[in-house]
Symmetry: C2
């Protein structure tokens, strides 16, 4: 099965969580909207189609044979067992999904540090709000999310170094991406906080050392972080 991923071609954004699992599994996929003008046109046709059965509200979405699935966490829920990146039992799948939805909330909060007022206004037009929101994020929300995932790794009753136990799941890949993005957006804050989260960081490093992930990260398929994506580096949103 060749999967077709549709996402904005110039940013990592939410699509990156899906790219990472496809890459780690060595899946056969195309990043359709990055395939030149034609790809982007195909994505827009999907978005605007009046006839498609299950239309997405927004990218990313995945075409898998006749299925079209949207919502990042939903796509990962679908791909997880097919790519052997989550155990097949319902309990494991629900728990992985619960963690992934918590990451989705975290991602939205990161986005809102630079866009607290409106997604369709420029950052420059909501800078005052952004400073306040970023300050609260750095002081309260970021440590709260990190604490949570550190604690999951610590209390893992089955042992093992991954969020779900002994075996890597797609949620580990997503947590890796969170740390990468947060280091890009808030390097000083992360440098200060990281010593408190040794398990999360060890997991990050373990993911980064996986051969397929390492190959992906050094390939042109990995886009650089930039100020159009979810994780943006604006020095004025960082701590003093």
């Amino acid at each position: 099965m060749r999967y077709e991923l549709y996402y904005w071609p110039s940013i990592q954004g939410r699509g990156e969580f899906i790219r990472l699992v496809l890459e780690d599994a060595g899946a056969d996929y195309v990043d359709a909207a990055r395939d030149g003008k034609r790809g982007m046109a195909a994505m827009m046709r999907f978005m605007e189609s009046r006839s498609i059965e299950h239309p997405p509200f927004a990218p990313p979405f995945l075409k898998a044979g006749k299925l079209v699935i949207a919502q990042t966490a939903n796509i990962l829920f679908y791909l997880g067992p097919r790519l052997d990146r989550v155990a097949k039992s319902e309990t494991s799948r629900l728990w992985a999904h619960q963690l992934q939805l918590t990451i989705a909330d975290w991602v939205s909060e990161v986005h809102d540090t630079h866009h607290p007022i409106a997604s369709n206004l420029y950052y420059e037009d909501q800078k005052t709000g952004a400073k306040w929101r970023a300050a609260d994020f750095r002081a309260n929300r970021l440590p709260k999310f990190c604490d949570y995932f550190e604690h999951i790794l610590k209390r893992n009753s089955k042992g093992g170094d991954y969020l779900l136990g002994n075996k890597l799941s797609y949620v580990d890949l997503s947590l890796f991406q969170m740390i990468e993005g947060l280091r890009y957006a808030f390097p000083q804050t992360m440098a200060r906080l990281e010593p408190q989260y040794p398990r999360v960081l060890a997991l990050h490093d373990r993911v980064m050392a996986r051969p397929r992930i390492a190959a992906y990260l050094s390939s042109p398929r990995r886009l650089a972080f930039n100020e159009q994506g979810i994780f943006r580096h604006y020095p004025e949103l960082e701590e003093e």
Copy 2:
């Protein structure tokens, strides 16, 4: 199976999406944290427990036998087929879940109209940002979400008056709740917009007329909307 729902006892909030499906299905459940001081203490114990296998990041969460499941959309994904409020096929479940996650995004955006800067600050301390964000929500986001769901109902190729076709699913109950909440929070905006969304409103009325839902809505189990919940009515956030 007696389900135990854990959620803040004084607001509809995200818990209401789960209450509605339990009520509509006539399920055996307790709204545990509303069971006096003891219930609230039990919820906090869950939240703070260092030993629970799959700890929730935040309420709501559901106890179903030995399972503890968090994240509203995840709980509904679990309950849907068990309460016969979604078809059992994977395609139906993924599509229902995709719609539910879109509603979850919508709920977060409603929350942020009154809390654009920080959840742990008072509304009064972020009123200026709230006015801007609410204006954008009313002008752009609210119509975008309503358009989307109106369109889903319109293009339903299988016919039928529900989001998934001929049979009510938990997503219909959630869409009903969105309309209820939005009418409470933004009555003028909704009065102006509603004529554009006849199918969404017909669905809302159909849900409200269901005997168990009607009984629930007029029972003391249905909390009133208030200014501690997700949907809040602040006249200054409404249109002129």
